[in-house]
Symmetry: C2
Subunit: 666 residues, 2 copies
């Protein structure tokens, strides 16, 4: 687009105090990674047939799906063709790490996304070598399209409760898959309804009437030629949702459906021909994949939050409203300190989550390498931190995306802003891959265990080692970032201890330990949150320390403004906890408030530069309010005119209903 | 529906400790009001042609609108016919006060809603007697359908910034309406796009080149016979949104469009034939209507929140998941204390908002009566409290509706749960009729003024009189409800004072007073919030005190559990503020936490009864998860099967796109 850029945005870009490209490179992981990403985006986005004539929000539910399939086949072909054979797999991963390329094509999401995100990883993680060879050959070429079916109508996070059964029949060497109840129907898997023809099904294995736990099976459920559902398969889509409507979530029921023995994925547990069951050497081995998915989620939250805050900051630089001073004209709404308060924490949080995801990736790789050597020592720690990180980052992102949206006033409510759709995508992450409250309580369980171990003199793993430090009743407070990290750790310690005290009280009053746990669970969630806040803040700070050495001074300065903003924001948000567990004084709090207001002012001239540095092209932002050129009002009108209702001056409903009604002839 | 009721719900209803019908009557304002409401609902909802064959979420944007018009004409006719001529207007108002009848017909909202909610009130409030007679005759019969056009593409809350001009031409005795820029286009009015043919337009009046402020004009913009837009009118719809898609929000631009002089509504300001301008006697007279709309909003929030929490509580009683104790089976998720923590505050908040709205209505009626006598004394106070009440109740409701939704896990993400749509409706209220941050700062301005007056010895109006009480640096704390109210007032006082100190500091450092205000605005919003929390809490408590005298003991007990829960919840949420401004101790806080956990347990057996008492019939809940009989899973499947995608086993996109792609022939 060569149209004129909005004057206010031009001024903002001139005011920016650091080199935007340098920050883009930093976020991408180097100038080469930025280049590779842009090359990939150029190639893919120049493909014909990837975009819509009528914006998808005007289509019917069915048309949305059909249109998404039309684009998906073009998109995946283009992605395949754009692969640079000279790049290593790591370079390729880096190129897509911060890219939201699919967002340019699907304002919602792709009907194939489960194939790459879940089906292939499930085969890689759970198939034995022979199975892997056979299925990966077909899956990687997308000769077959797969999905992953775990959740049922009646069961989500609690996997042991799954009702689908797989009963081994040694006579025919087959498993019989069955859905004994309505609630046993698989429900939610993306791509399942009308797109995929294969899936990995998690089912409760029975051999000779004996339970052998939940196991994975690869199941064909549609004919490859006709796409008709196979006999014994009941199949459909689950209906319209808040988001992910083009993802084609489906239901699947089995009526005594038989599959050969080699369709159970046997990397871990195995079933021999005669029905002998060989248990998996370690039940924790599947944790690895779960953790990997959570790394992907934390990173995805950082990207989606960056996208929302880019839209809101640019709009706030263009939108002028009200008066700050009489007769001084209407200011940019970005000049209101309340607006800065709503938005700048979003920029800082996106940086914090990106860097935390990088730390988590390294930890994951290390633990996975240890696993290969049979060393499971660090797995519980990785699991505990991944649980609360997934929960806290998805919750924070949901809140901050909504805050970005409402900060754009009425126009943020328009689908053409793309903010409602981004919210629809991120809020789903609060539920999928482990419901957030359940995950927070898993981390809490680890914290309670760790504190008990510390009290009996055992050494703790690194992320929880602070629980074994000697604490005075109130930590001596200082307002530095490290002081705030220590403060949050003290709060976590204090809350775990207080929840444990509370549990003991309930046990003394006659409750069983499980009921006492339940009664204290509101406090336990708060303990987990404080632990996670301390972790994100310290990781954010230490990652910037570790990686900013070679950056220019102006950029480094702005990066540390954001770190300090993040720390100060959360200290002020949780000042009650700090007052309870540290020696923080009224004067300290006033000082923090002053620092916070001062930081907002320092970030203000860099705000547009900071969001420009996320480097989302207009096609990826997909937003009337957020485009690089700031032609907000022109785009709002251009998009409105695309509504099919605007194709005719008078809608047929006037003649059919309105006119007779108004003339009293109805 | 005569199907079997879910066993868990039956048990819950048996456990309930109070009389559900008694609470319903209490909320309605008496047994007669309940009866009238139910009679109205029976009559209207038995009308043919009011409901959908295909759920509206599967239709295209255009079809949704056409379908809504089809239903709207039937619905308004049925409402008219259901009017009981023997009832007084007050009885009729009572019958619809707690009803969400239109929600049974429109899962979204009605394309006529602006006619009744804004067009008619604008005529009543701003037309002179002759005009009122003429226009009300046509409007009340719906011979014409009207809307209210104030917001423009470039201007929302800041009314003085409106760009549409109305220039008086004394030669022809006409006003010339004009949109000088793109941003001057009217943008957002409901019904405007393809439904209404008249509207009240707010425009900047010029006479002889002199500004005469923003004035209301009644404008015809479509031909009554053909519905074609009139010459000089540019008209269309603004496009798809997060919600309100059947409301038909439109844009409207004027190209030198002429209207007769008598189309300016002249109750307040007047323009004589020769162009003489007679100013309105008081610019604050229009505040009355704004306040009225805010009363309606607070009441609407109470109802929508009640609807969301009814759905979530019933679902939580039916859904069983995970384990609390080994081998004890899966508990109802309502037994998890974290779930109670998410939901019970929603019930209490709905009660609090309903009772606050009743107080506000009385205050509004009193001030309006005073206005008629020329007494404007209490108007500023009413305005100040209505501003923060609108902002706090819409914000809280948005948060609590989302919390209800996510508490239902994945199934809350289904549109068939109706929770996403309820959120779409309530979150819009954070923006319309005054953006929430702007409103909070308006209340803050009154608070600052009041404290200044108190310090110079003046008497304050009742809702702010606490600012003139002598305060010690830390209020002596006690954990009673009255103690908590006093605590929040002390916090409000402290925060106003601290923001004023902060402003003085900024002024000393060289900023002008407006910039100092802006720098302190984050703190000022917090001051407003504390003031509003104290007000809601004390009003909730005093209204229950005032109205519960004749209630049975069991009901009274439960009502006070909720009041106490509300107080304790917010005390714990804002414990940092209380630590700063009162003498609350660690032991007090532990005690509050114990009380809170105890109250959750006491409310638990009454939870289903409490939501049953809201008395929403299934058609009004419109939810697979919330129906009275608790057939959650059956309904989810029944609704899914209505998706048009499920009408065929193989979608056409397989043959067109998927198969060639999978076979590598693309």
């Amino acid at each position: 687009m060569s149209a004129k850029v909005n004057d206010d945005l031009l001024t903002e870009r001139r005011k920016c105090e650091f080199n935007v490209e340098e920050l883009t490179n930093y976020l991408d992981g180097g100038a080469q990674a930025t280049q590779n990403r842009r090359k990939l985006e150029d190639k893919v986005l120049s493909t014909k047939g990837l975009f819509d004539e009528v914006p998808e929000e005007y289509l019917s539910h069915k048309e949305k799906y059909e249109n998404a399939v039309r684009k998906a086949v073009v998109y995946y072909k283009a992605m395949k063709e754009a692969e640079d054979p000279n790049q290593t797999e790591q370079e390729r991963a880096n190129a897509t790490y911060r890219s939201l390329l699919h967002a340019a094509v699907f304002k919602d999401n792709s009907p194939f996304s489960l194939h790459l995100a879940m089906f292939i990883p499930a085969i890689l993680g759970q198939a034995d070598e022979e199975q892997k060879k056979y299925w990966m050959k077909r899956a990687s070429k997308m000769e077959i399209i797969g999905t992953y079916a775990q959740t049922e109508l009646g069961h989500g996070t609690f996997i042991r409760g799954l009702e689908t059964t797989a009963t081994y029949d040694p006579k025919t060497e087959e498993f019989v898959l069955h859905s004994p109840t309505l609630t046993a129907y698989k429900w939610w898997p993306g791509s399942l309804a009308h797109t995929a023809n294969y899936c990995v099904v998690m089912a409760h294995l029975y051999i000779n009437g004996k339970s052998c736990g939940i196991q994975p099976f690869i199941v064909q459920f549609r004919d490859e030629e006709t796409h008709q559902p196979l006999p014994g398969i009941k199949l459909g889509e689950i209906g319209a949702k808040l988001g992910f409507n083009t993802v084609n979530n489906g239901f699947l029921g089995f009526d005594q459906h038989r599959i050969p023995r080699n369709r159970m994925l046997m990397k871990n547990a195995q079933v021999l021909k005669d029905g002998t069951f060989k248990r998996s050497p370690n039940s924790k081995l599947t944790y690895g994949t779960m953790v990997y998915v959570r790394v992907v989620i934390v990173n995805g939250m950082a990207n989606q939050l960056a996208r929302a805050v880019t839209i809101a900051v640019r709009y706030s630089a263009v939108r002028r409203q009200s008066e700050l001073k009489p007769d001084a004209g209407e200011p940019q709404i970005l000049d209101y300190v309340t607006q800065q308060h709503k938005l700048f924490i979003g920029i800082a949080s996106s940086h914090a989550f990106t860097l935390t995801a990088k730390w988590l990736t390294r930890m994951y790789q290390k633990v996975t390498a240890d696993l290969e050597k049979g060393n499971l020592d660090e797995l519980p720690e990785l699991h505990a931190i991944a649980c609360c990180l997934k929960a806290v980052t998805t919750t924070d992102t949901s809140v901050l995306v909504e805050r970005s949206r409402t900060s754009c006033g009425g126009h943020g409510y328009m689908l053409s802003s793309n903010l409602p759709q981004i919210y629809g995508l991120v809020t789903a992450a609060c539920t999928y891959e482990g419901e957030n409250t359940v995950l927070m309580l898993q981390t809490a369980r680890s914290l309670v265990k760790a504190l008990e171990q510390a009290q009996s003199g055992k050494r703790l793993s690194p992320t929880m080692s602070y629980l074994s430090e000697k604490v005075s009743s109130r930590l001596k407070w200082d307002n530095s970032i490290d002081g705030i990290v220590k403060g949050f750790r003290r709060v976590a310690y204090g809350k775990v201890e207080s929840a444990m005290r509370s549990m003991r009280k309930y046990v003394r009053s006659g409750l069983g330990p499980e009921d006492a746990w339940n009664m204290s669970s509101v406090q336990l969630v708060a303990a987990s949150e404080a632990h996670c806040r301390a972790f994100i803040l310290s990781t954010y700070k230490s990652e910037v320390d570790r990686t900013s050495g070679s950056l220019s001074e102006p950029l480094k300065t702005v990066l540390y403004y954001l770190v300090e903003l993040y720390a100060t924001y959360w200290a002020l948000e949780r000042v009650g906890d700090l007052l309870l567990y540290t020696s923080i004084s009224e004067a300290d709090i006033r000082q923090l408030q002053d620092t916070y207001e001062d930081l907002l002012g320092k970030i203000r001239p860099n705000a547009v530069g900071l969001v420009d540095a996320f480097d989302f092209r207009d096609q990826i932002l997909n937003s009337t309010l957020g485009a690089y050129d700031g032609r907000v009002y022109e785009r709002l009108m251009e998009e409105a005119l695309k509504s099919p209702l605007n194709a005719e001056p008078v809608n047929q409903s006037f003649h059919k209903y309105l006119k007779p009604f108004m003339q009293g002839k109805l």
